[in-house]
Structures are given as structure tokens and as C-alpha cells.
Subunit: 397 residues, 2 copies
């Protein structure tokens, strides 16, 4: 038969990154294309110990159906941690555990976006979240970033000119793909604009705990007096992404709708994963763990930054992130970044061309994303040498 799919999917395409990641399945390819945490950052021994203990002492809790809101000890542990981070206020907020941070964003889009509503985002932005909004046929308006994050002047103009903006999707900390961190002043300005134009904010913060340089900056959620910020985060970057555990902290009216939709979507998040994360928060020294992770990421970032400095054409510029997983590169004006990426792939090094992160991936960019968390040190050195040589051939010394 001929299939007539829902109208709401009309702007949803398979992600360009997905296609690139297929190439990187070839083990002879050095991949700077992924967005995965460093495998040596996973607390394998802790997780193994928890799993043995769970299966010895609480197997039925791990294997039976549970409630949609989340495993109660995990919700309590997340509340406690989010309270110390000023992202949860007991009198005003509730927490729902989700199947990865992706589901937090997807549920927030589902409960608020009608077809044709506008969602504002940074441009570039994380394509997975853009696709969540696209899968409800929302219109995405991307706003460029400067060194302090999303440009407030363009944001204000956009909100003034479009009165059906429903929400903003923002990654203030170590933004994917640029690695940029939104300044405190900019966060305050963005929140003020959200108030003035009565817009919700999805604040996506998967990388906030991975700061390896500089000082923490308060979240937008911590400034929220109106219940307009839907704070989304995840255990993917601080424990392990394969577990698929994320969470949202926001007003109870919002979590109630998210729970109703989550129940109709996957009933609840995998219990073993939730129980591992609960034990990690309550039985492990999270500060010591994060110190170890930050040291891994700092070393990998510094190595890649040094290799870039040494190998690349001086015509290519790079962001200098203080955390997260990504460096964002810009080739000279008039240069063809897609040709650069294709030549890199031909020489078995994968980076992601910038258009993959745009609201419309047919728009031209001069950028590409490099990930430093997943490759080994040798791969970072070898891959940067190859990319550097190509950059000099294409753009000069």
C-alpha cells in the first residue's frame, strides 16, 4: 500500500550526523565526529558492583513495572542534587525522570508545540533537539551566537516581530556544537526577554558538570521566578549514555503533562538504569568522580588545542571552550567547508560540517565541529596532523 504519513513529520529528515557516523563505523577512520563521552570516563567498576547488588537484593524492583514519574529513590537523589545546584526549589518545582535528556526535550516540545508554532534556538544548535521540535511541525528560528552566547539584539527583534514564539531552546553551558558558554549578563537578558514576551525556555544542560576551566555561571533556571524554565539534564555525560537516564526540573503543572505523555510513550524509564543512577548519586563520591572526569576532558581538550595550534593553517579559527566535548572551527571566507570535510573523510578523518547543526541544513556555513572526548590521544595527534595538512593545502599556511 502507499503510506500517507502525518503532516507533522513533513520537515523531519534523518540527521546528517547519522550518515557521517555510519562512515565512522569503519575502524580505520579517525572520528572527531561523535558526541560521545570518553569511554575511560565510565565508572565501570561501580556500575558492575551496583548491578550485582541489585540482582542479589532487589531483583523484582529492577524487573517489574514501575511508576512513570521515576524510581522514587532516584527522584529524591536528583532533587537533592538539583537543590544544591539551585535548579530545583521544593516549593515550586517537581522532577520527572526521562529516558535520556533527549526525552526531556521531546516531551517539553510535545506538550507545548502546536503545528506552526515558532521555537527559537541558537544557530547552530543540537540537531537532536531541533528534530524533536520539527517532529511536531514547529517552525524553528535560529539566532546566531557571539562570544557571550545567543545574540540578545537579534533575539529581541525576533520576539518583537513574531508573536507566536512559544519557546526558546537553549544550551547555555558548553553549547553543542560550538563549545561556547553563555555569559551571566546574557543569561539575565535572555530571561528578561522571555518574561517580556511571555515565552518558555527549555534550558538544556547536559554538559554543565564538565567544566574544566573557569568558574561556574548560574543557570537560567536558578533565576526563574515565573516557572517559565524547563530545565533538562542527563546522566549521559556524567555516568553513561547507554543507560538512557535524564531528568527535567520544572513547575509541577508542566511535569504532570510530561508524565501523562511519557506514560503513553514508554510507561517508565528502564529500572536497572534508574537504580544504577540512584546508587551512584547516593553511594559514590560525586565530587571526586567529577574531578576525575574534568581532568580527562581537560587533558584531551588541551591536547587537541595544542595539535590544532601546531598543525592547522592559521586561516582556520577555533573556539576555546572551558568545558564540554566540542571545538568549533571556522574556515576562511570564500572557502568551501564541505570540500574540506569531504577531503578529510577521503583521508579517513571524520568531522561534522556545520550545516548539520543549522535549522535548515541546506544553508551554507564556514564551520565544522571537532569532538575531543571520544578519540584516543594518538588519534587526536594523527587526525589533527591530517586535517592540518589538508587545511594548509586548501587555505595556505
Amino acid at each position: 500500500m502507499e503510506y500517507i504519513f502525518s503532516d507533522k513529520l513533513s520537515n523531519l529528515k534523518a540527521s546528517a550526523i547519522r550518515e557521517i557516523l555510519k562512515v565512522t563505523n569503519d575502524p580505520s577512520v579517525i572520528s572527531f565526529a561523535a558526541g560521545s563521552p570518553a569511554p575511560n570516563a565510565f565508572p565501570v567498576e561501580d556500575i558492575k558492583r551496583f548491578l550485582c547488588d541489585i540482582m542479589d537484593n532487589e531483583p523484582i524492583t529492577a524487573l517489574q513495572y514501575s511508576i512513570t514519574e521515576g524510581y522514587p529513590p532516584l527522584r529524591e537523589a536528583v532533587k537533592k542534587r538539583m537543590q544544591t545546584q539551585h535548579n530545583y526549589v521544593p516549593e515550586k518545582d517537581d522532577i520527572v525522570i526521562t529516558t535520556g535528556g533527549q526525552q526531556s526535550v521531546e516531551l517539553a516540545c510535545k506538550i507545548f508545540l502546536n503545528e506552526g508554532d515558532i521555537a527559537v534556538c541558537e544557530s547552530p544548535s543540537f540537531v537532536g533537539s531541533l528534530n524533536s521540535a520539527k517532529s511536531y511541525n514547529a517552525k524553528l528560528v535560529g539566532i546566531e551566537l557571539d562570544e557571550e552566547g545567543i545574540r540578545a539584539d537579534i533575539l529581541e527583534k525576533t520576539l518583537e516581530e513574531n508573536r507566536n514564539v512559544k519557546l526558546m531552546y537553549l544550551i547555555p553551558n558548553f553549547h553543542n556544537p560550538t563549545g561556547k558558554c553563555m555569559s551571566l549578563e546574557r543569561r539575565k537578558k535572555v530571561y528578561e526577554l522571555a518574561q517580556r514576551y511571555n515565552v518558555l525556555i527549555i534550558e538544556d544542560n547536559p554538559y554543565g558538570d564538565l567544566r574544566f576551566d573557569g568558574e561556574d555561571i548560574p543557570t537560567i533556571k536558578s533565576m526563574d521566578t515565573d516557572g517559565r524554565v524547563i530545565y533538562c539534564s542527563s546522566f549521559s555525560k556524567i555516568v553513561a549514555p547507554g543507560l538512557r537516564v535524564g531528568f527535567t526540573s520544572t513547575a509541577p503543572e508542566i511535569t504532570a503533562k510530561m508524565v501523562a505523555c511519557k506514560q503513553a510513550s514508554d510507561v517508565h524509564t528502564t529500572m536497572l538504569s534508574q537504580m544504577i543512577c540512584a546508587r551512584f548519586l547516593t553511594e559514590c563520591d560525586m565530587d571526586a568522580h567529577l574531578t576525575r572526569l574534568r581532568a580527562i576532558y581537560r587533558q584531551k581538550y588541551q591536547l587537541m588545542a595544542d595539535c590544532i595550534e601546531k598543525e592547522f593553517s592559521s586561516k582556520v579559527t577555533f573556539t576555546k571552550p572551558q568545558g564540554g566535548l566540542f571545538i568549533w572551527a571556522t574556515v576562511p571566507e570564500g572557502a568551501d567547508v564541505l570540500e574540506f570535510c569531504n577531503r578529510a573523510i577521503a583521508e579517513k578523518v571524520a568531522v561534522v560540517p556545520g550545516n548539520a547543526f543549522m535549522t535548515d541544513d541546506t544553508l551554507p556555513t564556514r564551520c565544522f565541529r571537532m569532538n575531543f572526548s571520544t578519540p584516543t590521544d594518538d588519534q587526536i595527534r594523527e587526525g589533527c596532523a591530517i586535517l592540518g595538512r589538508i587545511s594548509k593545502e586548501m587555505f595556505g599556511e
Copy 2:
């Protein structure tokens, strides 16, 4: 701020069963209200062995990001098993692994249903799936069942009168909540009507392997020549629901759209869960396991059926399922089934009133659902004695 939620949620309510299940958290309540498998049916030792082995030998595979379609060895094992069950044809179908059978149904609804489209279902039906369709603002039309399943005469009339029916949602095997099994003739007739009116079928089959009496009946999927059946099933009833692993077998054009939406929804299903299910299918004797499960369910069903026979008013009638988890009871005409359920709760026995399974839960019914898989034998005896006494007080001997 005041929240304006998406129009598509306007008919989505928290499930009535959820509210009842909250009462059953009280350990002094005997619950026949759940839809959970028998805890002693979980293969705890196998799962523990798999988890230890996975964490010893493949921890990074278990903890890192993976592909949306599903863990490749699990997809292969499911394909093989579905092929032997005639629910997968290599040349015509593809398999996507989902976060429980619920996600299979939700994704199928998402990719096909526009707001206002009609979805036809059995009435009563599984409220979780009805909510998946409601969460996209589809209009549900429920069709009553007779002893052979959904009534074909009413179905034909409905399809004739409503030309915007997009899909049918059906549970042919050991239907939830009635326990009924659709006859072979009725399945053929339903498929013929789907062809004639060009309607898709979501065939939900979580209970098919739990037949404890009678002969297997071919699935509607096995008759599908057009690629119009979206077959959904799950490991929840044959391994464990807390793992949250389900799957869909259908035409590749359909699985491709489901994968695009799943990627924007939860990226992929928890790896530990997928790896457990893969090993269960490839390393365990599934036939022996299912023989053991069927014996557990046969015994529990027979005990509840015997207690009903002995204790209940003869005015209350019951279905006699050959598999699954549920018995469906009907009180005499003119009797108030809600009063019966409320008196039962007051005496600390929980059953689910039939209206919870209707497309509109404000419609009156004379029915209630009893689950025999979760309670212990003693709870079955004691609970049936209490329900029986109330039934005789309300409806006579």
C-alpha cells in the same frame, strides 16, 4: 506564568488505572488491578549471569551511545524468532527495537495520525495505547467484541461511514482487558476490511506467547500481503517489563519513519536491557522458558477461575481466557459496577472498573477486570472470597 498546552493534548487524561494503582501501594490491599507479569516468572538468575558477563566483557558497548534501530545482535535474534512465527519476512519487513511495546504503538500513532484522524479500536481496549492515539488528538471509535473478537459487522459499518479512518488498533491474542482471543475467521475478515477501506492495522501482541490452553491462531501480520500491518510486541511479558524492551516488525518505509521519530524521542533503548534480551534469545532455551511461564499462568488462572466458580454470585459472568493475564467480569443488568468496585476497595480488594478501558471513561459499563498473574495464591483465594461475598450481597446468590 499561565501555561497554554498544545491542542493535541486536549483529550489526554491521566489513566484511571493509575489512580487505582496508587491505592494498591498499600501492602494491606489485595490487588487484582495490575497488569504485571508474575514476579516468579522472571528469569532472575539468567539476567544476573548476563549482567556479570556483559560488565566483564563488553562494558563499553553497554554504556556508550548506540544506534537508534537497536542493538544489532538483538535485531538479528528478533528477526529470526519473528520469522519462525511468520511475523517477519526478510524481503518485505524490517525490525526496530523500541523502549517497550508501548513505544512501538506510540511511534506508529505519531508517524501516521493527524489531529482529527480516526483510529478504530476494540471497546474496551488497553488504555495505554488509547492514550498514545489521544496524545496526537486522534478521534477514537471503539467497537464492541463478541466471543470471536471485534464485531466485524459494526467494524464494516464504521469504515463505510467514516472515510478518514487511518488505522485500527487491535489486540487479537488474549485481549486486554477481556482476555478474549480473536478467531481465525474474524482475523481474515478484519484484514479483508482493512484492505477494502485502505486502513492500517496496529497488531499489538504482547501476550501471544502466554497461551496456556488451546491452539495458536495465525497473526494478522502473517496474512499481510500489502504491508499494512504494524506488528508490535515486547519482552515485558516473556522476560521482564522493567527492562523496557519492545519491537515492531513492519514495512521498511514505516520503520524508517519510526526510527527518525525515535531518534528525536530517546536516541535509542537502554543498552543493558537490549543486551540482556539478545542473550536471552540466543543463549537460553526459549521453548523451555515459555513452557515454565505457561504452567505458572495456567495454574494461577485455574485457581482464580475455581475461586470465582465457588465464591461469586451466579449473576456475575466471566470470560474464560486461554492465555494472557486477565479475566473480564460482567455484573447483572441494572447493577452498579462502580459501587461494587468501591465496596471492594473499602474491603481492601482492588479490581479495575470497565470504564477505565473505554474510549470515553465516562461511559457506563457493567464490567470489571481481574488480573490473576500478579497476586499470590493466598491473595487470589482471600480476594475472591471477599469479592464473592460482596457480589452475593449486591446481586444475590
